[in-house]
Point group: C2
Chain length 245, copies 2
């Protein structure tokens, strides 16, 4: 898909032929995807070796074998490349969660498998995450998982936790069921926060945290029709909404 | 008090006369306290200007106007100086919480005042906290608020939240009351975590978070005799204990 709101959006990149037919559209998609992937790979490699701050778009383009202008055509900033990284990580998380979501009905088993898969797929980025953390942790930063800019990946992640809940045997009523996936996603952010700073071998402590926390969450969800817990869900989601605004 | 387990513990420092009488004991205490304070002041000034990693004990001693040996007599490492900083911050927090704790009986008013006081007293260290955070956030680090080394200040902080609860009109039963102060302290760590990364003017967002979260905590505490919440308190404190071990 061409990026909306950019003058060059109807071409495959600066200096290329304008798109004229639907056939051309079909032809250019895989190539554009390849270029996007190459730029993203180059960016992640440089972010990991040089750090986020020290990496320039020019260096990213050079490593990807494209012109700086072409790199900017796909990603208007390094920030957008981080968003692409978030989206890619989510796609891997989704794939790694498939097995447990397709076979388990028990809510805690589904949640445990999904949270463990989240840590599994992030493993290669553990060192990068520790160094990048300070950019993502700032609540006002576009790189924060709570930002407006991060909302596509955040919404996709919340949808995954909705599937964890909806495909399970857990019984949760109406408006409560609507907000619980967001709280489960919030809990997953707590796990990631713990993981970022976890220096235990193989991040064993993070997996222990998941295994210990999941039954507690399971019991709260099972009891979630109790008025005080319903009210808490409402309030906590309202606080999230307010702090995000 | 002389530091236990050190050969020089019976003197006022290296090269000074051994202590012989109780009178000498009384005489040396204020002076030792002054020296401790001078070394701590010097350390904090250098940590703030040069960063924790780049600051040496030699530089700290030099700035405090004492010999390096004398500095080591009081603090065996930079880590101990951070523990002293934690202890000092806690003392300031305690003093700043006094007014609300001596006049308010309402649980949420006491908790709000105590949490706001925590952020108030830390304000001068906001920039330092953001840079120092990575050392404190590592669960296995002695500088973590969850570490064995941090336990004196952590226990003192938990005692403050015990006072928030015990001096209030909140009704909480037996073993539950025993563990709630720890959970309130944990909530305060969540507030500090948010504050560390809060770049809003005057950290206004952190105060908003406190004001929004306190009523939710108040309602959960009021409902804390509900079995599922009792069980959750037990489980969450067990998880904290286990991850700390």
């Amino acid at each position: 898909m061409p990026r909306p709101g950019r003058g060059a959006a109807a071409t495959d990149g600066p200096g290329q032929r304008p798109r004229v037919t639907g056939v051309a559209d079909l032809a250019r998609t895989p190539r554009a995807q390849q270029t996007r992937a190459a730029i993203t790979d180059a960016a992640l490699a440089l972010f990991r070796s040089r750090g986020y701050e020290a990496t320039t778009m020019r260096a990213i383009a050079q490593r990807a074998g494209v012109s700086t202008g072409n790199a900017y055509y796909y990603f208007s900033s390094k920030e957008e490349l981080i968003q692409e990284f978030y989206a890619r990580s989510h796609a891997e998380h989704l794939a790694a969660s498939r097995a447990v979501l397709d076979t388990e009905r028990d809510f805690t088993a589904r949640l445990r498998g999904t949270l463990r898969a989240l840590i599994d797929v992030q493993a290669p980025y553990h060192e990068f995450a520790a160094r990048f953390y300070k950019y993502a942790a700032e609540p006002a930063s576009p790189l924060s998982p709570f930002s407006k800019q991060s909302s596509p990946t955040r919404e996709a992640s919340i949808a995954l936790y909705r599937e964890v809940l909806d495909g399970s045997d857990a019984r949760v009523g109406g408006d409560l069921a609507a907000r619980l996936p967001e709280l489960l996603w919030l809990a997953s952010m707590g796990v990631v926060l713990y993981w970022v700073h976890d220096t235990s071998p193989g991040c064993a402590r993070t997996y222990r945290l998941i295994d210990a926390a999941v039954p507690v969450i399971g019991r709260l969800v099972a009891a979630s029709r109790i008025p005080v817990l319903r009210a808490t869900v409402r309030d906590v989601t309202a606080i999230i909404d307010e702090l995000r605004s």
